[in-house]
Symmetry: C2
Subunit: 210 residues, 2 copies
């Protein structure tokens, strides 16, 4: 399995690293971070610089594609990345996204007629891209998998591993990364967070989602 994780300026680090940490443990797989150019890509904060080791052109037949999201998407994805997603999707076994990475899949026409998810504050942007938004955390539609905001890529990747290699391999990877989540609060979804917290986050982060 050749796994390609796409980078662009203004990506969100955990969107990319969550799936990486799971998928790179898939037996017989090879993971590479790809970008329009090689070299360091920065998150929107500039704090994280992640190195892309291959160009999009060089990785033209990945079996699994992961597209992270991030505030960089509010300026639109660059055409090269959209064209690449469209092209490699023809031969991938799985095409996946985390957070607003689904907006890129949508822009590439990949979500047409499918249920899909995204960061909860970006769900309203999916219909214009032909997708039917849902609040589910991981949405499997044929070979296309979209995941909700930021941290959901870990759940998405474990689901993907179970589909590719079976439940036991997924369980072994889960145990290897000791993924026994114990968040100190039950505030991770707009459905469970206190209403005042939902309003606060919407006012703080909302502008970055448009």
């Amino acid at each position: 399995m050749r796994i390609a994780i796409a980078l662009f300026e203004g990506f969100t680090a955990l969107d990319a690293i969550g799936p990486y940490e799971v998928l790179q443990r898939l037996p017989g797989s090879e993971t590479v971070f790809v970008g329009e150019r090689t070299g360091v890509y920065r998150t929107d904060t500039g704090v994280v610089g992640l190195h892309a080791d291959a160009t999009l052109d060089e990785v033209d037949r990945p079996d699994i594609v992961v597209v992270p999201g991030g505030p960089g998407t509010r300026h639109g994805f660059n055409d090269a990345l959209i064209d690449w997603a469209k092209q490699v999707h023809e031969t991938t076994q799985w095409t996946t996204s985390v957070c607003t990475g689904s907006l890129l899949l949508g822009a590439a026409g990949i979500l047409q007629g499918l249920k899909a998810t995204s960061h909860w504050m970006a769900l309203d942007q999916l219909p214009a891209l032909g997708a039917e938004p849902t609040l589910e955390r991981v949405v499997v539609q044929g070979k296309v998998i979209t995941a909700a905001g930021v941290s959901s890529g870990i759940d998405m990747a474990l689901t993907l591993v179970s589909l590719v290699a079976g439940d036991e391999v997924a369980q072994a990877i889960q145990l290897g990364i000791e993924y026994d989540p114990q968040p100190p609060f039950n505030a991770g979804s707009p459905a469970t967070a206190p209403a005042a917290i939902v309003d606060l986050v919407r006012s703080l982060m909302g502008p970055a989602m448009k």
Copy 2:
């Protein structure tokens, strides 16, 4: 709050990026990745290259320190990193680790007489470093916080934010990164995973922990 996340060759990416994704959202904070030298550090797999923007010497008074773990620790941490941890710990407000990062804190004498945790397969290495191992996921001992394997850094960082800035800020960050974990299996801890999976992971990963 000046937050420093330490990098070294052979670190585990999610150990560092989980806490980063939470802590960089702490209002009024500034996060930097530090290393003995600036430039790109590689995970043990070589797949991820993360850029350190400052040297240890340049960041001599961080308020919060995060030390990730990773297979690189099996060759021991370099002396520069241990000396730095020892020195900055004198003035930090919080000194934290994820996974086998606790072995570095231990080597720096920081865990002497404290309860601490690590990756479940490395817990047996803590007593030799003066610490009392515990299977808890996040262990707060005064200003020292240790977290269990790889993915636990997210829970650790949310706990830390609640201590630094209150529960509402932590909840807002949790919602911002949509941390509403839904692992497809209940295999994230040796206490809950099937025995055969525990044995499998122990045989595969055990050697890398020594």
